[in-house]
């Protein structure tokens, strides 16, 4: 069981001593139960920090934002940033470090173990509470306890936990400066890739019927891209902003441009966008599930990333976010990589 006071004390100490410039954590949000990201810059604010089942955000995204802001201001980073990180978040930070996005000494990882419980899936909870709005969520052993207008409601965590947490293999931040909570690696609440395996058991036709339905619904809001700590490219391949059309642009110039993907929300373009995203995240996605949570039309984006993760694991023995020094999935190879598909 994690005592929130430990996290607050760590944050307060570090800020008071000036060892870090900001602590990124979670605090009470403004829309009821869900927590929101908090950026703590003074020791007095440290008591705002919380840790509860609604801390599902992957805060490593803000380390990326910080780097972009620093680059824009042309400033050096100075003292490090402390960040509260779950197992999956810590792995994202490892991938960013592996890609030299920032240096290890620029970040102080306050690891929190998810222990047996993981984090909440609000969509699952909504179906359990029949319209009652909870105002507070808390961990209690293997249960979540929700405070509602009709009193306390206790639910087993595994019934309302996010799928990715059920399938999580390592609910513990291996890379950390300090860590709270027990390492419950191997707790295995559900078979890893369980949803993916069920989906794959269907034939080509059925799979296409399901996916084409989802691809039709994508409205290209790019929430999945905005929320992803790995989507840090300054210029995304789907944005054609690098080719502004002016009055001087000739018809020949327009025709010569490579337009990989159009921005309009058509099925074919949505497929190209989502598959390109899946390819770009292969070997980098640490399954934090933020893309799927952010998707306003509930496209199972996580499944595409999961597919790549499983291929990498089973065919190439590659585990994303396992080590800072390791080479990346598509920039390395083994002599015995599978090649049976090649004629």
């Amino acid at each position: 069981m994690i005592n929130i006071q430990d996290i607050r004390d760590t944050a307060r100490d570090m800020l008071a001593k000036g060892e870090v410039r900001t602590v990124i954590g979670y605090r009470r949000g403004s829309r009821g139960m869900p927590a929101e990201p908090a950026f703590i810059t003074s020791p007095e604010q440290a008591d705002e920090l919380i840790w509860d089942p609604t801390c599902y955000h992957n805060l490593s995204l803000y380390l990326v934002h910080d780097q972009k802001i620093l680059a824009h201001l042309r400033k050096a980073s100075g003292s490090p940033i402390a960040i509260v990180a779950k197992g999956c978040d810590a792995r994202s930070i490892v991938v960013l470090l592996q890609e030299h996005y920032f240096k290890r000494e620029d970040v102080y990882i306050i690891g929190v173990s998810c222990e047996g419980t993981g984090v909440l899936d609000e969509r699952k909870l909504a179906s359990q509470l029949n319209g009652v709005q909870p105002t507070l969520a808390a961990f209690d052993g293997d249960d979540y306890v929700f405070t509602t207008a009709e009193g306390e409601k206790r639910l087993p965590a595994r019934e309302v936990m996010a799928d990715r947490c059920l399938e999580c293999r390592i609910p513990f931040p291996k890379e950390h400066n300090v860590v709270f909570g027990e390492d419950k690696t191997g707790r295995q609440l559900a078979e890893p890739f369980a949803a993916l395996t069920r989906f794959e058991a269907q034939g080509t036709g059925e799979r296409w019927d399901i996916w084409s339905h989802h691809f039709d619904r994508c409205m290209r809001c790019f929430a999945c891209r905005s929320v992803c700590p790995m989507c840090y490219c300054d210029e995304c391949v789907v944005d054609s902003i690098t080719f502004p059309v002016t009055q001087q642009t000739s018809a020949a110039e327009k025709a010569d441009r490579v337009r990989w993907i159009e921005r309009s929300a058509m099925r074919s373009e949505n497929i190209t966008y989502l598959l390109t995203r899946a390819m770009h995240l292969a070997g980098r996605c640490t399954d934090c599930g933020e893309c799927e949570r952010a998707c306003p039309v509930n496209i199972p984006i996580r499944m595409l990333n999961n597919k790549m993760e499983r291929e990498a694991r089973e065919k190439f023995g590659y585990e994303p976010g396992a080590s800072i020094g390791g080479s990346s999935l598509v920039a390395s190879f083994l002599d015995n990589d599978p090649g049976d598909f090649i004629r």
């Binding site: 296409w208 598959l275 990589d337």
Partner: protein, 144 residues
Amino acid sequence: MSEQQNYEPRVVAFLCKWCSSAGSDLAGVSRIQYPANATPITIPCTGAVSPMYILSAFNKGADGVLVSGCHIGDCHYIEGNFLARRKMHLIMELLEFIGVEPNRFRMSWVSAAEGAKFAQVITDFVDDLKPLGPQEKLKKAERA
């Protein structure tokens, strides 16, 4: 029935400059007969093929995409085809996963001396593509 017989699949073939492209040339100068369905695009190395090329080819109406390069160990850039093998495996799995017919994407190793093999690869690919009919799943719809 007659419509199906007349259907000619369009294949986009990404051929590496050092091996498969020379292989296709050998097939030509050796006067080996093979279907004229493939549009060759010469690339420096299979390792330079971005999955984006493949998705884009399908997006612009290709019925099948072929990526062909040097045999393992023969890469002009030492390790380009090793890297390609991984990347192409991933994109192939992804396309199958969303329900694209597995036969629409193919990869082969064809050396500069294997003109006959190149002709065989194209012939087989076209034969496998014909029963599938036109590729509509990833193709961009015409604007009205």
